[in-house]
């Protein structure tokens, strides 16, 4: 055994040496690393959960905002529709009014024209009658022969037509 270099003292010293090393590392190094890793794992997990929650919250917020926006948009649309309906109605009213007024103006114009016509006709009748009276008077005054009669009538008629 000595030729292989086996020596109990050395063997024991190596075992003690290893135990010392193991003790030191076990006491000071490995717990630190292990704890660090565990802590980090925990913190990462916490961070992820927090991020998840934040994301979910943001999503909810976004949905709420979207709903609100949608509602507002609908309302605005409604309002616009109402406004345009009203405007249509006003337009109709104005148009109807205008038509009515135009009709009235037209009617009154026709009536006026008719009245004028009647007035002129009446005037004409009156003048014709007066002329006829005048002519009659003259006939009666001059005595009437056939020729004169014709001449008078023709005069009168030419006068009338001239008038």
């Amino acid at each position: 055994m000595a030729a292989l270099g086996l020596n109990f003292n050395y063997l024991l010293s190596y075992i003690v040496n290893f135990f010392l090393l193991y003790f030191l590392l076990k006491k000071f190094v490995f717990p630190a690393i292990s704890q660090m890793l565990d802590d980090r794992k925990k913190r990462i997990a916490e961070g992820l959960t927090a991020a998840d929650a934040a994301r979910r919250e943001a999503e909810e917020e976004r949905k709420k905002l979207m709903a609100q926006l949608e509602a507002e948009r609908a309302e605005a649309q409604q309002r616009v529709a109402a406004a345009s309906a009203q405007a249509e109605k006003v337009k109709e009213d104005i148009l109807a009014q205008a038509r009515r007024e135009a009709e009235a103006i037209k009617t009154s114009a026709i009536e006026e024209a008719e009245a004028e016509k009647q007035r002129i006709l009446a005037e004409a009748h009156k003048q014709i009658a007066e002329l006829a009276m005048l002519a009659t008077e003259r006939v009666v005054r001059e005595g009437l022969d056939e020729k004169t009669q014709h001449k008078i009538i023709e005069d009168f008629l030419s006068q009338v037509s001239l008038n």
Partner: protein, 343 residues
């Protein structure tokens, strides 16, 4: 062949050949004395305890591991800025995962300390053989003294180089007549109560200050013994009386021949564990070191380079295997037989 004749590859090949020829002609190195036991460094002892170069290497490996690991955990940061902390955390996580795959979370947590201590210590110890020049710095003593103490029979001539003495590659072999003479002189010196020292040394040998720790059988056998005994202690603690059953099957089941055989086999396998654990580590690293010696002896430049890579891998592999086998032995020791309880 035509590819080799292009200027670049040609210059490369010629350069390599030139380096090899130069190293063969001008830079021959002596083959170091290959000894199985750790060599006691002359003139270095604590009382009767002679300090060997493998022991020095063990202390250095301890210091390296301790300093690195303490530096790594000195200022732990949640977002690590130091690379060392990163590396240690990475190593810890990887191997914890691996152990969890083998033995479950609880056992992995319990024994990762042992696993990592063995791994780191053996890594430092194994890789120490790769430090260039580590085997060439040491104490030079006459080959006669080395023969009388360790049976070394090949020495080298010496030359002075500035302040230092170095070995040349001129071998001096002790003849049987020389050996007899040395033994006689040594006996005379001892009977006169003196320390044997030759008057006119024929040659010299070099004892390096540091030799890779795992090339000492004491370390590997000590570690293997420790690990196997530890596994029994753990098994006994966890399983109690049930644990003894696997070695004492006949006592419980009534002396059947098969059971006796199984019990004996279990017993032998425990010794096989110690032998294979310790000699695997020792054999690989020792052989690796001899391989590096021989390659440097054949051609001192370039040729050893690929073998350094090989040894880097082998050193890691052996450390890893030792550590993982330790864990597996622990795991097996606490693993009760399938019939005893359901998992």
């Amino acid at each position: 062949m035509s590819k080799l004749l292009r200027p670049k590859p040609l210059a490369f090949t010629v350069g390599i050949l030139a380096v090899i020829v130069i190293s063969l002609v001008f830079f021959r190195v002596p083959l170091p004395t290959i000894l199985l036991p750790g060599e006691a460094i002359p003139g270095l002892a604590i009382g009767k305890f002679k300090i060997t170069n493998t022991f020095v290497a063990t202390i250095i490996a301890d210091i390296v591991v301790l300093v690195l690991s303490f530096l790594a955990v000195r200022q732990m940061q949640d977002v690590p800025e130091s690379k060392l902390q990163n590396i240690f955390e990475w190593v810890y996580e990887i191997f914890e995962g691996m152990l969890t795959d083998i033995g479950g979370k609880e056992k992995a947590r319990a024994w990762i300390g042992v696993f990592l201590t063995i791994l780191l210590f053996l890594l430092a110890a194994n890789w120490m053989e790769l430090i260039p020049g580590i085997d060439s710095i040491g104490v030079i003593e006459p080959v006669e003294v080395a023969y009388a103490e360790k049976g070394v029979n090949v020495g080298y001539e010496i030359q002075h180089f500035w302040l230092f003495e170095t070995l040349t590659n001129k071998q001096v072999k002790l003849t049987p007549a020389d050996m007899e003479e040395i033994e006689k002189e040594k006996e005379e010196a001892e009977s006169a109560g003196e320390v044997y020292h030759p008057h006119n040394p024929r040659g010299y040998v070099l004892t390096p200050y540091v030799r890779a720790a795992t090339t000492d059988l004491n370390l590997t056998i000590g570690l293997a013994l420790l690990v196997v005994i530890w596994s029994h202690v753990i098994g006994f603690r966890r399983l109690g009386g049930k644990y003894a059953r696997r070695f004492a099957m006949p006592v419980i089941t009534g002396m059947k021949l098969v059971d006796i055989f199984v019990g004996v086999l279990e017993f032998i396998s425990e010794f096989a564990k110690i032998i294979s654990l310790s000699f695997r580590l020792f054999g690989n690293i020792f052989a690796g070191q001899v391989l590096l010696f021989v390659m440097a002896f054949l051609v001192s430049f370039l040729l050893p380079l690929p073998f350094f890579g090989l040894e880097l891998f082998a050193g890691f592999m052996q450390a890893f295997v030792f550590a993982i086998l330790t864990f597996i032995y622990f795991e097996q020791a606490t693993h009760s037989h399938a019939g005893d309880e359901h998992h």
